[in-house]
């Protein structure tokens, strides 16, 4: 309570000054302000504000984050010592050694993402003379979870500045952006520093150093940290040692937080239960990816794509497994459902989600440089979301117009009355 009142005093002291929004920002960032509309007002105050929404998403992300910290260590030690022959969750996965690797590798990503992002937000709050916008709370948590673990921190910082300024602030800040800022950051990293974002050396901590040692002649017995999609893209699916349960529970290499489909599923259910995220988008995106996967499976079954084709590995991958490898599940649950950049109409959400799933799997198979396309598919559909909404709304207006045209309006004889009614109901 005392911190709150201290901040409140500071805020009053700086009222009207240039730095006022920064103090305001701190205050509202941590607490609900004392000022409310006066008691006689007509506004209904709900605690379910933007901050609450953001916090709920963060809560859904915490298990993923903690899992990713253990997985960072698990993949690291497995790459050096080989995968444990007799896997036990307590002895091989939830160990302090694994968690320590997570602390030194994953936590800095989170800190840099939040630190840089919030600095940019505060600067813009001061420039605009606004309260700070909470929009970065979720983005800041998403960003470290969708990058490879060995991403250099300065690259992340540059990308965060780019994503927040070009992806969000130029459009007017939180709620006004066209593209999902977290995915803008990911896309920037992908196009700016491709060698750090793709290939088989970036997904496991230390893989790059180890491969350099091997090149230099060291006799290190290490397995490479190729992702499952990477194996498949090179038609080396047979060399993979991961079981379906590994893929589902997430004991596989990949971007920091995308591996565990199980925890993402739990997070998704939590978001649906709290009514924060749209189940329509999630369900339709799952359907979309399954449909595209089935089409590819059928193409292989008909023999149109032979084993010699470079697409064979990914096309013959069982259609439902697309959901448990790579970033598809993470993208569908946490990115596609972003209420700002997604479709707003219920019907539009079905189309929007369906195409995200559909295009994700398509890009995944056909992208020659990088066997993953979830972020590109979501960004593409972000751009189309307003158009989808436009046609849904137009369609609704047209349907109602038709209904009105065919309806019998009483009194029948007065055309003037009917016209008036039309204008009102439509």
């Amino acid at each position: 309570m005392s911190l709150k009142s201290k901040l409140h005093e500071l805020k009053l002291k700086y009222q009207g000054k240039k730095m006022a929004p920064a103090f305001n920002a701190f205050h509202t960032f941590l607490f609900s302000p004392d000022e409310t509309t006066h008691a006689g007002g007509t506004h209904v105050k709900s605690a379910d504000d933007l901050k609450r929404t953001m916090n709920t998403v963060i809560m859904a992300l915490i298990p993923v984050l903690i899992f990713s910290m253990f997985n960072a260590g698990y993949q690291h030690f497995s790459a050096i010592n080989g995968f444990p022959a007799d896997f036990s969750l307590m002895n091989d996965f939830l160990t302090w050694d694994n968690f320590w690797i997570g602390i030194i590798k994953v936590l800095p990503l989170v800190v840099v993402s939040y630190g840089v992002g919030l600095i940019v937000e505060f600067i813009f709050a001061v420039i605009k003379g606004h309260e700070v916008e909470e929009g970065y709370l979720v983005t800041g948590m998403l960003v470290p979870l969708i990058v490879p673990i060995d991403t250099p921190l300065w690259m992340l910082a540059v990308a965060v500045v780019f994503g927040v300024v070009i992806g969000k602030e130029v459009f007017g800040g939180t709620g006004m952006n066209i593209l999902n800022p977290a995915l803008t950051i990911r896309a920037f990293l992908f196009f700016a520093y491709p060698t750090w974002m793709s290939g088989d050396k970036v997904w496991v901590y230390g893989a790059r150093e180890r491969s350099e040692e091997i090149l230099a002649g060291a006799n290190v017995d290490a397995i490479s940290g190729e992702t499952i999609l990477g194996y498949l893209a090179q038609n080396k699916g047979a060399e993979m040692t991961y079981s379906v349960s590994d893929m589902f529970f997430g004991f596989i290499p990949g971007s920091v937080g995308e591996t565990s489909a199980f925890l993402i599923l739990l997070g998704g259910l939590f978001l649906i239960f709290t009514k924060i995220a749209s189940w329509r988008i999630m369900v339709s995106a799952v359907i979309g990816s399954l449909v595209m996967g089935l089409i590819f499976n059928q193409v292989v079954d008909f023999g149109w794509v032979g084993e010699s084709s470079k697409f064979y590995g990914l096309m013959s991958f069982d259609f439902w497994k697309h959901l448990i490898v790579g970033g598809l599940a993470f993208g569908i649950v946490y990115m596609a459902t972003d209420p700002v950049t997604g479709s707003q109409t219920n019907k539009g959400k079905w189309y929007y989600g369906f195409f995200i799933g559909f295009i994700s799997v398509m890009i995944r198979v056909f992208n020659p440089a990088y066997p993953e396309g979830v972020f590109l598919a979501i960004l593409l559909m972000n751009v189309f979301a307003p158009t989808i909404d436009h046609y849904v709304v137009r369609g609704n207006i047209k349907r109602r117009m038709n209904r009105l045209k065919n309806a019998t309006i009483y009194p029948k004889d007065s055309d003037g009355k009917a016209k008036e009614l039309k204008a009102e109901t439509v």
Binding site: P152, M155, V170, F191, P194
Partner: protein, 215 residues
């Protein structure tokens, strides 16, 4: 008397800032996106456009009273096409490598909106000297943006300026690269130019709010 009257000076200085062809009139964007990955190409493009626009404006201005207005666009196209072919041939003769980098974009100067725009808006209504100044001014305004964009794209994208490695050697890891710095591949591709031009527009308009368009 000064070399240029105040009115004439404005013909040159206006397009450099408050009436810039790229950032204010938003003309000639295609070439600004396409060829600015290198500073050298930007500079050559700027000089080529300066030659074409300066000379073209004078020619059109001299002919302005004898061009039938119904076919003036065709006449303008012939003039600009002639000048562009001269530029293209000169580049091929004396800077073959560079002409390959610029490729089709030298030919596309013909369709650069700035050139037809100045012919229509200025040269058809003014004398040769003023038209010449106007051409030089507008191509300078165009060139300045090209060079700024080219500077940032080449510096951040390739770590070089005019082909000189100013940041060190990315393969031998010298200079700045020794600290772990890497070239930004995003700056090489044309969308980066769009963003750099956008930032210039942003900076310019926030320094001079009078330029902000009402919608």
């Amino acid at each position: 008397m000064a070399l240029l009257s105040k009115k004439d000076t404005n013909l040159i200085t206006d397009p450099l800032a408050d009436n810039n062809p790229i950032t204010i009139q938003v003309l000639g964007i295609c070439s600004a996106l396409a060829i600015t990955a290198e500073l050298k190409a930007s500079l050559v493009m700027a000089i080529s456009v300066m030659f074409v626009l300066g000379a073209g404006n004078v020619v059109i201005s001299l002919m302005r009273n004898i061009i039938p207005s119904k076919i003036r666009i065709i006449v303008q196209l012939i003039v600009v096409a002639t000048l562009v072919i001269i530029v293209d041939q000169v580049l091929k003769a004396y800077a073959y490598e560079l002409s390959k980098t610029l490729a089709v974009f030298v030919g596309l100067i013909i369709t650069n909106c700035i050139i037809m725009g100045r012919f229509e808006a200025f040269a058809l209504a003014n004398g040769p000297w003023r038209s010449f100044l106007d051409g030089i001014g507008n191509s300078l305004g165009y060139g300045v943006i090209l060079v700024i964009v080219g500077f940032f794209r080449e510096l951040l994208g390739s770590g070089t300026l005019f082909g000189f490695p100013v940041l060190g050697d990315p393969i031998m890891k010298t200079g700045l690269y020794a600290t772990g710095y890497e070239n930004n591949g995003f700056m090489i591709i044309p969308p980066a130019a769009l963003i750099v031009v956008g930032i210039i527009i942003w900076v310019q308009r926030s320094r001079n709010p009078a330029l902000v368009e009402e919608n």
